[in-house]
Structures are given as structure tokens and as C-alpha cells.
Amino acid sequence: MSDHIDGPRQIGDPAADLTDLFAFTSPENPSRTVLTACLFPSAGADAMFSNAVSCSIVVRRASVAGLGDAAQFRTGDQEIRFTCRFDLLERAPGAKPVQRGTFTLPDGQTLRVVVNDKNGASTPDGIFRIFAGLRSDPFYLAWLFANMRPIPNLLEHDNVLCIVIEFDTRRALDTDKGSLFGVIAETIPLAPTSPVGPLPLRLDWVGRPEQTNMRLNYGPGIEDIRDLWNQQTPFAIASEHRGMFLQRLKESFAHWDMRDNKQDWTPSALDANARVFLDDYLLFDVAKPITDTSHLEIEKSTINGRTYETGGGRTVDSNVIDILVTWLVNRDREFLRGGATRATKPGTTVFPYFAEPNMELQDIAESVDLDAAPDRVWTLIGQFDPSWHPLVASVRMIGSGIGQLRIIETIDGKQIVERLEAADNSHRSYSYSNISGLPVSSYIGALEVNPRGSGSSVTWRSQFLPNDQPDIVVKAIVTTLFKTGLASLKSRLGDSR
């Protein structure tokens, strides 16, 4: 995933694991720029920032140093650095714990913020505004790369911890000196972990999406060099390692190029691509439009020997994986679309621009073991038509295939409408969503039949957010529905016990 869990070392403390970096024009005010770093893949509803890590977003001035096969970018030595650190939790009886953070701005000012306060905090002159807290994960990845199969978003309903910094572009970046910048985010332990021995290592850093998980670690069986990469100094990859990383990128890009069994990259262009991606920072130009589709345009145009036309960067809703995969696999010959075109929640037009966190879904899973062979069970229940269920009085089916609707009248006179979302007869499974009739939202159900000994096992699962009624009541309704259905199978097909 973008930079999610991108090395064995990050798995230690997820709150130190950077997932993504964004750079875009403020949707509220075009004269302002927003930089955002996300941490903690699949953070739960109560996730907090580590108090032992400092997270920095670092900007350097950039310039184009070559075009076409000689494509290259250079960055200046001066850094515009935003750093944040977080406190211990403040606990009060009967209340959720509170955490505060301190942002240090490039001019040395500090700004305090309460985590999860959506209004954030601003400097008195309004130049800088900051936010820190849990948000819906804006990243989405909907590919099974092993066979290039589009699948649903793997990060659906995930949350991440976000650090959002918005500022007056001209005053913070001094745009009179140039408008092209490179940006990275990094996490570093607060202090040496030992008074003797080596200095603390960088825990993680991120520039463009997927440098580690997709580009450096591109396939099974290759040596995992992600930890070594994460410990490099951004904007200054160690000279003794540059050759090795460059070689890995070349091999990776050659591998990606052939994922569709067609060679779209000449060796020299592929080398140029590898050199550009080796210098891993997210490029953005504040004088040009940064849009949902401009991600990587600066790099791509430069490699193609043209002057770039957009501000590149990365917006909240950028489809970064499809953009990257298309570029690597067919050099933009044909857009490759994954199985999702948006994250769980899109970005918003008001500060902090990242959507409210997803609520914790309620889970139900029930199963039954049966004497009957899987195919026999699947013949009975594998069609989307639920007439086999004893609580169903009648069913009307509308349409066929994915998208098919079932309108169920229950024996107590209620109507439930559900939609077929996916079906896989080879695995004897289907999934569906609820349109109406249950006091829920974001409902996804799945039914599957698996072999078990000489018989089979039927599992019925669902996840949902209860609407208007207490969790326990809604869970009881759904559980009853599942249990009654599965129990009826036992009497029809034989209990394996």
C-alpha cells in the first residue's frame, strides 16, 4: 500500500509508520497550500499519536535538471521544515483521553493543537493552520497485482492519523524564488535510544506513493531492502547505496513494464524513469494547477521530454495507484483502472480536507457444519434468491448478475431490499449490500460454503453501522436472521455433529 506497513521495522509501532503524503492547493483558498502526512495504517477508532516520535514534513526548492532520457530533478539545500510532537494522554474520569501536540513551524514559532479538534489551530497572523487527528484513510488500492486483477478497495473503512498543515503559499514558500518544490515526510525517534552506540535511526519516510512496497519490493523472492531505504536520509540517499537502489528500481520497472506482456519502455527511458524515482520526493508546483489527475505529471512530462503543465502534487482524491500502475506498465498508453475509483470517503472542501473517521463497524459471523457436500449446499443457497430461508415469505428478483436486486417480504411483513455485489461460484461465495429494510448503513454481507471433511461448512458474515437503534438491538436482529437461516440448513441437509 502507498507506504503502509512498508518494512519489517515499521511494524514495531504502527504510530510511527507513515502511510501517505499529500501536497495540494487549499480547496478553501487558492492562495494557500496544504501538506499532509498520514500515519498508522488501519488505525482503530481510539488511535493516538506516539509521544516518542517526531514527525516532520520537509520541503525543498526543486528544479528540472534534464529532459527526456536525461530527465532529472535537483533540490536545494535549504529546508522548510514543519515538525510535530505529541504529549502523553490526559485522562479525566468518565471522559475519553485527550492528547495535545506541538507543531514547530519553519520560522521557529510553535503552535499547540488538541488531537481530533477539527478546527485545528492557527498562528495569530493566519499564515499557518494545523490539524492533527484521526481521519478516513484517503488512500485506496484496488488491485491484486499478482495477476493484475481489479478488486474492491483493500482499505475500505480504514482510518489513519493525519497531520495537516495549511499555509499562505507565497509567504511560507517565498515563491518569488521559484514555484517548484519537493516534499517528504519522516518519523524519527525523539532522542537517542542509548547513550552509547549509534545514533537513532530514522523510522520511516515517504515521498511519492509506493516507493517501498511497489517499486523497491516489487515481487516475491527478492531481497527486502525496505528497511535500508527507510533509514536513508531524504534528499540525500547515501552514495554507497545509490547504485544498489537504482539497480533495484531498474529491475522493478522492467518487471512492471512486462506485466501486460508488452514492452512499452525503451531501456534508456526506463533508466531515466528509475533515476527520477530514485530521488524520492513528491514534486509540486504552486504556480500551476494541482488537480485530482495531475499527480506525477511533472515527472512524466519531464521524462517524455516536454515541459510540465500542471502542479503535480497529490490531492486527497488522487487515484495515485492507477496513475502509477498505468505509467509503469504501459507508459500511459492505456489507463489501467483498479476495482475502485475512490476511497471510503472522498476529501472535503473545508479544513482539514480529510473526511471524518469511519466509525467502527459491527461484525456478525455465524456458521454451521453440515453433512452435505459443498456443491449440494451451494445448489440450495448459492443463488442470490433467499427463498430457502424460513423467515422469508416471498422474494422478487430484479435483474441478473452483479447489481441484481432481491426484494424480500419476511414472514412478519417487513420488506428488505438487497443488492448482489460480487459472486464467485468457484469459491461458492457471494457478497451483497443492504439497500433498505434493516436499521443499518454500510451493510455488507457475505455467504460462503466451504468443504469440511466429507461435508461442508456454511459461513454467513456481515458488517454494518447501526442506524437509529442501539448496537445490541441491531446485532440481535441480524444474528437472529443468520442463525435461523443456518439452523434450517441443519434440518434440511444434516448436522455434521
Binding site: 509501532d13 481510539d46 509521544n51 494522554l89 473503512h157 542509548s194 456478525i364 456458521s367 469440511r452
Partner: protein, 386 residues
């Protein structure tokens, strides 16, 4: 052997223990939610195993074991034939000390072409836990630790050295693990500190209570909710008459559900003459132990034996559990426990049987020479000759 209790200790800067536990719980719940969404998803069952393992081991939430068993059950319903299911089943069985089953699952995983490295790692854990081929395990552990340098591999090596009664080496390796730690999660640091506490409190022939207490305090400092560290430190405090300190340590640990917290609290209260207060805790501990033994007999057989040999006051049950533990994992320590219980309860015949078995199994190992069982054996032999 270094007798200075942790002179080179500088606490690594790690995430506050409270925050880490909140985040672990948050990640744990989310991993389950993702599993329900798609149980076949790559890595998700493995993430649950890791999160639940940390929850059980370091937060002391014993219900994590129930959840792990539920995970293994659900996986077997969904994909009974896969190597991945067999590997998870093997890990869960191993964590709950069902080692025979674990080996069976592992053989299945191997047959289904599970990654060899994974299979070997789990098999090594099982061998070590059961005291099988420890010399071979030591070579393997040294090789792994040298190659990876990872904290978890160093700790496993340290624990094996302790099992082999190479205490100075174990201490050195644990300290190396702490010295070389460069991450910010408090869990590994707390774990190593706890291991060092155990080493100096319970494993060395002449326990050094102050030194052990120091390490337990450090474990708790890193991770205030480290239930096991609280229990062990409370034991040291109680045995040195600091019963109020023991009580203060144990009260926050009660919510974990670990019956040992209630048992040790009852002991501390009894020492303070608060028999009536202790009674309720003791009763609750007994009920909770039995409930645990019903669900995870082999995982808690040694703990149950210790309880019944002490304030649980049922030596027959204690011996029954201790012998069950020996049958399941015939380590030298398991034999020592069973022998102690039999001997102290006056069951000389059982004590002799355990001793004879221990000698057959461990008599030729270097570790046996530093075991109290060796001395006991000599005494018995001299008695027989006399």
C-alpha cells in the same frame, strides 16, 4: 557474572505504555473487523495472531486466547486445506501449549508447502517449549539471532540459554537485545526487562530479589499495564514484607482477568491480617483458574499447579496439574515443579517417580547438574545406600 543490577541501564525512549496499549487495542479490533470483511485477505489472520499474542502476553488479557482459538476455528471452516490455515492453527495450538496438536498442524502445513522458514520457526518454538533437542535448538537460535539481529530472535536465544542454565550468557544476550533496540514500541523493551526479572528472581540457583525487582519495575515503567510484571514484582514485595506495595501493584491488574493477580492479592491481604478481604479474592481466583483450566488446560496447568500448591490449598489437584504439565512439556523446570509439589505434600512415592523420570530424560544434560533435582537424587541414593 555481573552482580551490578543494571548499571548500564538507560531506558530507551519508547512510546508511552498507555498510548501503546490504546493503539494495540485499536489495531486489534480493526484487524478483526478486516478479517470478518474478508477472511482470506493476505496477512490479516497473521496480524490478528500478532495483536492477540501481544494482548495476552503483555496486557494479560487472557480472553485473547479464546479469540485466537476462534480465529483458528473460523479459518478451518473457511479454508481447512490451506497451508496458511495449518500454520495459524499450529501457532494458536502452540500458544495454548497444545504441542502435540501444534506439531500435527505443522506437519500438515509442511505437506501443503508452507514457507519452510515459517515452519522451522514455529517448530523451534515448540521444541524449546517442550525441552526437545535443546542443543540443536541452541545452534539454530544462535544462527538466527546472528543473522537477523532482531530483538525477538535475541530474546528467544536468551530464554533458551536460561533453560540450559547458562544464566550469565542469557543475561548478556538480553542486555544486548536492549542495547541494540532502535525502535519506539515499548512492548519489546518491557518484555526483555520482564525476562531479566524472571531470570534473577526465579531461574538462577540463588535468586537476587533486588536485582529482579529492578527489572520488573523497569518493565512496568515501560508498560504500566504489564500484568505479569506486576504480579511477579508483587510477589517479591510480599515476600520481603512490603505487602501494601504488593497490594498497590496488584489492584490495577485485577481488570486483566488473570486469576494470578487475585491470588497474589489474597496472599498480600492475608499477610496484612485481612483474612476476610482475602477470602473473596481467593474464591474468585479458584473459580477463574478452574474456568481457565476448563478452556485451556495445558496452557495453565503449571500456573494452576502453583496456585493449588500454595493458597489454593489442594495438593492433589496441584500434583495432578503438575504431572499433566510434565507429560505435555517435559522440561527440566516442569519436572522440578512436579517434584517440589509431590515432595512438599508428603507424597514421597510420586516425588520419587518424578525424580526417576527426570533423571532418565535430563540426567545426562549439563543443566541437570545445576538443578535441585540432582541434589535430591544424590540424597535419595545416599538414603537408599544407608
Amino acid at each position: 557474572m555481573n552482580t551490578d543490577p543494571g548499571s548500564d541501564w538507560e531506558r530507551p525512549v519508547t512510546t508511552d505504555g498507555d498510548i501503546a496499549v490504546v493503539n494495540l487495542e485499536s489495531a486489534r479490533r480493526r484487524s478483526w473487523s478486516k478479517f470478518i470483511q474478508d477472511p482470506r485477505r493476505h496477512g490479516i489472520a497473521e496480524a490478528i495472531v500478532e495483536n492477540e499474542r501481544l494482548t495476552a502476553q503483555l496486557v494479560g488479557d487472557i480472553s485473547a486466547l479464546d479469540r485466537l482459538e476462534s480465529l483458528a476455528r473460523q479459518l478451518s471452516q473457511i479454508n481447512a486445506e490451506s497451508a496458511r490455515t495449518a500454520l495459524i492453527q499450529a501457532q494458536v495450538a502452540s500458544m495454548t501449549h497444545r504441542f502435540t496438536e501444534a506439531r500435527r498442524f505443522l506437519a500438515g502445513a509442511e505437506q501443503d508447502r508452507a514457507p519452510l522458514e515459517e515452519v522451522s520457526r514455529i517448530r523451534l518454538n515448540i521444541d524449546q517449549a517442550c525441552g526437545v533437542d535443546l542443543d540443536g535448538a541452541l545452534s539454530a537460535r544462535r544462527e538466527i539471532a546472528t543473522k537477523s539481529g532482531r530483538l525477538e530472535d535475541l530474546v528467544a536465544l536468551g530464554a533458551l540459554l536460561a533453560d540450559l542454565r547458562e544464566f550469565a550468557d542469557a543475561d548478556r544476550i538480553y542486555r544486548q537485545a536492549l542495547r541494540e533496540y532502535r525502535d519506539v514500541s515499548p512492548f519489546p523493551v518491557a518484555w526483555v526487562c520482564f525476562q531479566l526479572g524472571m531470570l534473577w528472581a526465579e531461574l538462577v540457583p540463588r535468586p537476587q530479589a533486588d536485582r529482579a525487582a529492578q527489572w520488573y519495575r523497569r518493565a512496568i515503567d515501560c508498560l504500566p499495564r504489564y500484568t505479569k510484571a506486576r504480579i511477579h514484582l508483587a510477589e517479591i514485595y510480599a515476600s520481603s514484607g512490603r505487602t501494601s506495595d504488593a497490594e498497590a501493584l496488584l489492584l490495577p491488574a485485577l481488570e486483566s482477568g488473570d486469576p494470578e493477580a487475585r491470588w497474589r492479592l489474597a496472599d498480600a491481604l492475608i499477610s496484612q491480617g485481612r483474612q476476610a478481604d482475602a477470602e473473596g479474592h481467593l474464591h474468585a481466583a479458584r473459580v477463574a483458574f478452574e474456568a481457565l483450566l476448563e478452556r485451556h488446560l495445558l496452557a495453565f496447568a503449571d500456573h494452576g499447579a502453583e496456585f493449588y500448591a500454595g493458597s489454593g490449598n489442594n495438593s492433589r489437584r496441584a500434583l495432578e496439574l503438575a504431572r499433566l504439565n510434565v507429560a505435555n512439556r517435559p522440561t527440566l523446570r516442569a519436572y522440578e515443579q512436579a517434584h517440589d509439589i509431590a515432595f512438599n505434600s508428603g507424597d514421597r512415592e510420586a516425588a520419587s517417580e518424578v525424580l526417576a523420570e527426570a533423571r532418565i530424560r535430563w540426567g545426562k544434560a549439563a543443566a541437570f547438574a545445576s538443578s535441585p533435582l540432582d541434589k535430591r537424587f544424590s540424597e535419595e541414593r545416599e538414603g537408599a545406600v544407608a
